[in-house]
């Protein structure tokens, strides 16, 4: 059995010494798709940010690719939730996808032929080549999300963290996300997505139902029961 890519033991996540979610336990093998499901404010993004290395754990231990989170940026792709601000920047779709290479290239390394090929290939995979030279702000919400997923593909990462990748997408957009995630898993990547959508959670290998605590954890069939879902929404109120 291959070594686990993400291991969390009795992990508490939060801000400073204030814990938002306690007792998170994970052992994730390559190729696993994990869904953190919860409503707004449930703490699922806080878990994700801790795994990316953006937040220090409040207590407990966590390792990603064998080290503390944030140690291997070149092997970890993170697609945050997208706000309107990023759409005012002078960036073409191609530039956004190319940013997927930054963690590997660092400050000074030049874009090689290989880097350019990887970027082109990623754009092709996500079907965004036709508007590669268009400014980001001229794209629709769905097109933007495809561009950001193409960035994650160009990262060639072993671990993916996607914060609400399907939020605001139509059926076609959701299919694109699914295809992108499947492609990543086939390459042996471990994918962690946060979502408030039960259909997204059904596709995962492991679901964590989050509402300021881990209410249930396991396969979608075990976890996504009416009783558990009622408990989840009861805690935070449905938004």
């Amino acid at each position: 059995m291959p070594t686990d890519m993400i291991v969390a033991t009795d992990l508490s996540v939060g801000y400073g010494s204030h814990a938002v979610v306690d007792h998170v336990n994970l052992r994730l093998a390559p190729g696993t798709l994990v869904a953190l499901m919860g409503s707004n404010g449930s703490g699922k993004s806080t878990i994700l940010k801790t795994l990316v290395g953006l937040l220090q754990p409040v207590s407990g231990s966590v390792s990603v690719l064998g080290d503390v989170p944030g140690s291997h940026p070149a092997r970890v792709a993170y697609v945050p939730q997208h706000s309107a601000t990023s759409e005012t920047l002078p960036l073409r779709a191609r530039d956004v996808v190319a940013m997927g290479r930054y963690a590997r290239l660092g400050l000074l390394a030049r874009f090689s032929r290989h880097d350019r090929d990887v970027v082109d290939e990623a754009m092709h995979t996500m079907g965004v080549s036709s508007f590669a030279d268009k400014p980001l702000q001229s794209l629709s919400g769905g097109q933007c999300q495809r561009v950001h997923l193409a960035q994650a593909i160009a990262h060639e990462a072993d671990v993916w963290f996607l914060d609400e990748p399907t939020a605001g997408l139509d059926a076609e957009g959701r299919d694109t996300v699914t295809a992108c995630v499947s492609a990543a898993r086939e390459r042996g990547a471990c994918v962690v997505v946060s979502t408030h959508d039960i259909d997204d959670a059904r596709e995962a290998d492991i679901v964590l139902l989050v509402a300021k605590e881990v209410i249930a954890q396991g396969s979608p069939r075990e976890v996504l029961t009416d009783a558990n879902l009622r408990r989840m929404y009861g805690f935070t109120g449905q938004h």
């Binding site: 945050p80 960036l91 400050l107 400014p135 605001g168």
Partner: protein, 292 residues
């Protein structure tokens, strides 16, 4: 015709120096201002430009270089804002506002108490573009080159920072370090420019040309280039107007920069209307708008 447009600069050494100083100011402000506009740092940029005033006043009273005084003033302001936001629950905007007004007022008190400042306050606020000399010019060119090199080297983390601090960190860049470097770029641009256009007007050159460029460009380096060109045109036309109609030089340059923004804004709005009028389908490909 040529007389009107070229003679002021061909005939007068001080006009040539002013033009050169203005061009250099336009370029350094275009580079720094691009990040002010993209990262939404207008308020701290404004505060920096004014917060340097007591530093300059103190330096003048003590007889040391005003650039050193301004640098100390800028460092106190940035350090103070950092300290207040870390140690209290106040937002950085509140901290900036507090220190900025306090330091500006302190600067005014210092200049008003001293006889020797009678005319100097106007000079500090509005600059002395027509008094540029070659040693000042050398320091400005050096600063511009340094700012250009730092920006070029740090373009990747700077761009990521413009999207989000988290994205920069997730990609392995030390966000605090590059934020500090970006603030330094802005600080150096202000230090290099305040002698020629003044602490009040430097802010106009930091904001207007990059805003103009943001209307018409879709890449970072073209934004900086267009902002530089727009600043250079503003400098030339401002100086020309100032020469022929006896207007304050620095202020004329900033008015020109703002006028260029208005013209480009009007033209780009008209053009977009025309495009969407003739090709309704092309305008905005069914963009979704979602709350979260």
């Amino acid at each position: 015709m040529t007389d009107y447009f070229l003679a002021p600069f061909l005939d007068n050494e001080f006009m040539r120096l002013a033009l050169l100083a203005g061009f250099v100011t336009a370029v350094i402000c275009a580079i720094a201002g691009t990040f002010i506009v993209l990262r939404g740092l207008a308020f701290i940029g404004d505060a920096l430009a004014h917060g340097v005033l007591p530093g300059i006043a103190a330096a003048t009273l003590l007889g040391v270089s005003t650039i050193v005084g301004a640098a100390v003033g800028a460092a106190v302001l940035v350090g103070g804002v950092g300290l207040i936001t870390r140690r209290t629950r106040l937002s950085s905007d509140t901290a900036i506002g507090l220190l900025f007004v306090g330091m500006l007022a302190l600067g005014v008190i210092m200049t008003s108490r001293s006889e020797s400042f009678a005319g100097d306050l106007t000079q500090i606020l509005f600059g002395e573009l027509l008094g540029a000399d070659s040693s000042q010019l050398a320091w400005m060119i050096g600063s511009t080159m340094a700012v250009g090199v730092v920006t070029y080297v740090c373009r990747r983390p700077f761009m990521l920072l413009c999207i989000s601090r988290d994205l920069a960190r997730a990609n392995g860049f030390n966000a605090s370090l590059y934020e500090a470097l970006m603030m330094s770029v802005i600080g150096v641009a202000i230090l290099a420019s305040f002698q020629s256009v003044g602490t009040l007007l430097v802010f106009g050159l930091l904001i207007a040309p990059p805003s103009t460029a943001a209307l018409v460009t879709r890449r970072l380096h073209t934004m900086i280039i267009v902002a530089s060109i727009s600043g250079v045109v503003a400098t030339y036309s401002g100086l020309l107007a100032s020469y022929h109609y006896d207007l304050a030089a620095g202020a004329s340059v900033v008015v020109s920069a703002s006028a260029i923004f208005v013209v480009v804004f009007a033209a780009s709005t008209l053009r977009r209307r025309q495009l969407s009028g003739s090709h309704p389908a092309v305008a905005h490909g069914g963009g979704h708008h979602h709350a979260h």
